[in-house]
C-alpha cells in the first residue's frame, strides 16, 4: 500500500472517531501550549536582556576594576584610606569594601595591553546642585558621562555622535523639576552646575564654581534603560574637568574605582578580559553581564519546559491507551485488510500514522493557541511590567514548527506499541471476531 494512501486512510479513521481523537489531541495540545509559550518567553527574555545590555553598554567595552581578595586582612594604606565611592566622604570605606583604586600607573599599564584602543577612567564628579534659573537648586543624584554606543530614547532634541563639552542631556524628571514646561522647551536652554572643591585641610570657606551647560536633549524613560536613566549626561572631558576640580590635591585625586577600556574589535573583548585578569584586574565584558542575566532566564525557562514535558508525558499514555483500544475495536477491519493482502508492516504503518496525526493535531492546536494567546497578551504583559514597546513573548516560527515536529515524533513513538499489536494480529483470528 502506498504511503499517501495509508496516511489518508489513517486520517479518515481518526475523523470517524472525532471526539476521541480530539480529546487525545488536546492532552498533547496542553503540552504544546506550555512548551511553545515557555520557548517564546525564553526567547523574549534573552532578546530583552540582549537589548538591555546592548543599549546600556558598548560591546567593545570592558569594565575594569582592581579588586583585592575581600576576605583577606589588608594592610592600612594611607593613600586608599582617603578614597571612597565618589569623592566626598573620606574614610576607610574603600579599603573595607576590598576595592583598590585604579591609579594613572594602572591606566598606563592597561593601555599597553594588546587590542586596547583607549582607557577612560570613570569620572563621576559629586557636584552640589543643578539650577536653571539660579533660584531653584536641585541635588544631582548622579552625573555620568555620555557614551555614543549606549542607546537612549529622547523625548526632545537628540545627540549627533559625541556630546560637546558644554552640552548636557537631562532626563524628563530633571527637565520638569528645573521648570521647563515641556521637554521641547528645555532644549537649547542653559543650566548651571555648581561644584565645590574638596579640602584636605579645613579652612572655613570652601572654593566653589559654576559651570554652564546647554541642554541638547531630554532623554525619556525606556524599557531598556537601567544605567543611564536618572542621570545627567555630560561629555567625558567636562566630567574630567569637574572631577579634577573637586578632587585635586586630595588623596582621591587621579584614583578611580572603575575604568572603561575600549577594545579595537568586539571579538577581542574576551582576550583583553583574560589578559587584564592575568595582570590582577577584575574585568567584565558586555557578554559577561548578558551571561549572568541569561542564566536566570534559562533556569526559569527550564522549569517551564519541565511542566510542558510533564504534560507531554501524560499525553503519551493517553495516546497509547487510545490507540490500543482502537486496535481492539478494529480487529475485524485489520483482519479484512490482511486477508485482502495488506502486509503487517502496512497495517502497523496505518496505526503509526494515526498516532502521528494525533500528534500533529494536538501540537498544531496547542502551539497555534499559544501563538494567538501570546500575541494577544503581549501588549498587556509589557504594560504591566512597564516594558514600553518591547514584547516579552517572541515566537520564532522555526521553534513553533520544531515543537510540532517533536510532538509528532513523540506521538509516533507512543503509537509503536499499539501499531506492533495491530501488525502482528492473526487475520484468521481477527476475522472470527464478530
Amino acid at each position: 500500500m502506498k504511503v499517501a494512501d495509508i496516511i489518508r486512510r489513517a486520517g479518515r479513521s481518526l475523523r470517524q472517531a472525532k471526539t476521541r481523537t480530539l480529546l487525545t489531541s488536546l492532552a498533547i495540545g496542553v503540552g504544546a501550549f506550555t512548551i511553545t509559550l515557555s520557548l517564546a518567553g525564553g526567547q523574549g527574555g534573552r532578546d530583552y536582556a540582549d537589548a538591555i545590555v546592548k543599549s546600556n553598554t558598548d560591546v567593545r567595552e570592558v569594565v575594569v576594576t582592581k579588586q583585592t581578595d575581600e576576605t583577606a586582612v589588608q594592610e592600612y594604606d594611607p593613600d586608599t584610606a582617603g578614597l571612597s565611592l565618589g569623592a566626598g566622604t573620606p574614610g576607610p570605606a574603600a579599603a573595607s569594601s576590598g576595592i583598590e583604586p585604579i591609579t594613572m600607573t594602572d591606566i598606563d599599564q592597561i593601555t599597553e595591553v594588546e587590542h586596547v584602543d583607549s582607557v577612560t577612567p570613570n569620572y563621576s564628579p559629586q557636584v552640589n546642585y543643578i539650577t536653571a534659573d539660579g533660584d531653584n537648586e536641585f541635588v544631582v543624584s548622579s552625573l555620568s558621562t555620555f557614551a555614543p554606543a549606549v542607546t537612549l530614547t529622547y523625548a526632545a532634541g537628540g545627540v549627533d555622535g559625541e556630546l560637546a563639552d558644554d552640552q548636557i542631556v537631562l532626563n524628563e524628571d530633571y527637565a520638569e523639576a528645573l521648570g521647563f514646561a515641556s521637554p521641547e522647551d528645555a532644549v537649547d536652554q542653559t543650566v548651571t552646575i555648581n561644584a565645590t572643591r574638596q579640602q584636605t585641610v579645613f579652612t572655613g570657606s570652601p572654593e566653589a564654581k559654576d559651570v554652564d551647560f546647554t541642554v541638547v536633549a531630554v532623554s525619556s524613560e525606556s524599557g531598556l534603560a537601567f544605567r543611564s536613566q536618572g542621570s545627567l549626561l555630560i561629555s567625558t572631558n567636562a566630567a574630567k574637568e569637574l572631577y579634577d576640580y573637586i578632587t585635586e590635591g586630595t588623596a582621591a585625586y587621579n584614583k578611580f574605582f572603575i575604568a572603561s577600556v575600549l577594545v579595537d574589535d568586539p571579538e577581542n573583548a574576551g582576550l583583553v578580559k583574560t589578559e587584564l585578569e592575568n595582570q590582577g584586574y577584575s574585568a567584565q565584558t558586555a557578554e559577561d553581564i548578558l551571561g549572568t542575566i541569561n542564566i536566570f532566564i534559562n533556569v526559569l525557562l527550564g522549569i517551564l519546559l519541565g511542566f510542558g514535558a510533564l504534560a507531554v508525558l501524560t499525553s503519551v499514555f493517553g495516546i497509547i491507551n487510545t490507540q490500543y483500544i482502537s486496535v481492539l475495536e478494529r480487529t475485524q477491519q485489520i483482519g479484512l485488510m490482511k486477508a485482502l493482502g495488506m502486509s503487517g508492516g502496512d497495517v502497523g504503518k496505518l496505526f503509526t500514522f494515526e498516532a502521528a496525526w494525533i500528534g500533529f493535531l494536538g501540537g498544531g492546536i496547542g502551539a497555534g493557541l499559544a501563538v494567538i494567546a501570546g500575541t494577544i497578551a503581549n501588549p498587556y504583559i509589557s504594560d504591566a511590567l512597564g516594558l514600553g514597546d518591547i514584547y516579552l513573548l517572541i515566537f520564532e516560527p522555526l521553534q513553533v514548527v520544531g515543537v510540532v515536529v517533536i510532538l509528532i515524533i513523540i506521538s509516533i513513538l507512543a503509537g509503536i506499541f499499539p501499531a506492533l499489536k495491530a501488525s502482528k494480529l492473526d487475520p484468521i483470528e481477527a476475522l472470527r471476531t464478530e
Binding site: 477491519q333 479484512l336 486477508a339 493482502g341 508492516g345
Partner: protein, 237 residues
C-alpha cells in the same frame, strides 16, 4: 490451476492436538466453480484459509499456477493475495463508517493501483452489483443484501483470478441470497475466474461445477471433477 497436495493442519500441542484437516489433496482447474461442502467444524474454513495463504498448514503444498504459495515469504503471499485473490465473508466485513466508494477502493490501494486508475475500476465494480447510485453512502446505511453486494464489488474490483466465498448467503434471506449468488457466478463466468464457495448449503453447492464434501478434516467424496483426486487416508485417533 490450484493444486492442493497432502495438506495437514493441526491445532494445539501434544495430547490436546486437534487435527483440522488431514492429508487433503485435490486439483481445481482454472475457471471452475467449486463448492467445499461440510458441516461447521468439518475443516472447510481451515481449508479455505490454507488455500489462500492466510493460514500455514504444517504439511503439504498449495501450488497455484506452478508456485507453492506456502513456501513464499509472508510479504510475498500478501502481495500474491492482493493481486490474485479475493474474499467474500458471511458477515460481509464491510467498513460501516466508510463510504461505498472507499470500501471498494481498499483492495486497489493495497494492490498499489495508481489513484488515477482507481476511480474507473471502483465505479465499474459498483455498477456490476448495481450500487453505483450508493457510491457516496456510508456502508452502515445499506441493507444486508446491499452490504453483501458491496462486498462482492470489493472482491471483484481488482479482477482477481480466484474468488473465495465463505458462506456468502449465510446471513441473507433466499431472495436476496439468490441475487448475490447470481452476481458471484456471473462474475466468475464472465471473467473466467475460479470461484471457491465454502458452504453447508446444498442448494448453493448444486450451482457449482464441482463439489468437495468434507467431513472431520478429510474429503468424503467429490463430484464434477474430470479425474478423481488421490485417495485419502482415514482419520487417525
Amino acid at each position: 490451476m490450484i493444486e492442493v497436495k497432502h495438506i495437514t493442519k493441526t491445532y494445539g500441542k501434544k495430547q490436546n492436538t486437534f487435527i483440522a484437516i488431514n492429508d487433503v489433496s485435490f486439483t481445481i482447474p482454472n475457471g471452475k466453480s467449486v463448492a467445499i461442502l461440510g458441516k461447521s467444524g468439518s475443516g472447510k474454513s481451515t481449508l479455505m484459509h490454507a488455500m489462500s495463504g492466510l493460514d500455514r498448514p504444517q504439511q503439504g503444498q498449495v501450488v497455484i499456477d506452478g508456485r507453492d504459495i506456502l513456501k513464499l515469504k509472508s510479504k510475498d503471499v500478501d502481495a500474491f493475495r492482493a493481486q490474485k485473490m479475493s474474499f467474500i465473508f458471511q458477515s460481509f466485513f464491510v467498513q460501516a463508517n466508510e463510504s461505498c466508494y472507499d470500501n471498494v477502493s481498499l483492495p486497489l490501494e493495497i494492490a498499489k493501483v495508481p489513484r488515477s486508475k482507481r476511480r474507473q475500476k471502483v465505479e465499474a465494480a459498483l455498477s456490476a452489483v448495481q450500487l453505483l447510485d450508493k457510491k457516496k453512502s456510508r456502508a452502515r446505511d445499506l441493507s444486508g443484501g446491499q452490504k453483501q453486494r458491496l462486498a462482492i464489488a470489493r472482491a471483484i474490483v481488482n479482477e482477481p483470478d480466484i474468488l473465495f466465498a465463505d458462506e456468502p448467503t449465510g446471513n441473507l434471506d433466499s431472495t436476496t441470497g439468490g441475487v448475490v449468488e447470481d452476481f458471484l457466478f456471473n462474475y466468475a463466468k464472465d471473467r473466467g475466474a475460479t470461484l471457491i464457495v465454502v458452504t453447508h448449503d446444498e442448494d448453493l453447492a448444486r450451482k457449482c461445477d464441482a463439489r468437495i464434501n468434507i467431513k472431520d478434516g478429510v474429503i468424503e467424496s467429490t463430484t464434477g471433477f474430470a479425474e478423481r483426486p488421490t485417495k485419502k487416508k482415514k482419520v487417525m485417533g
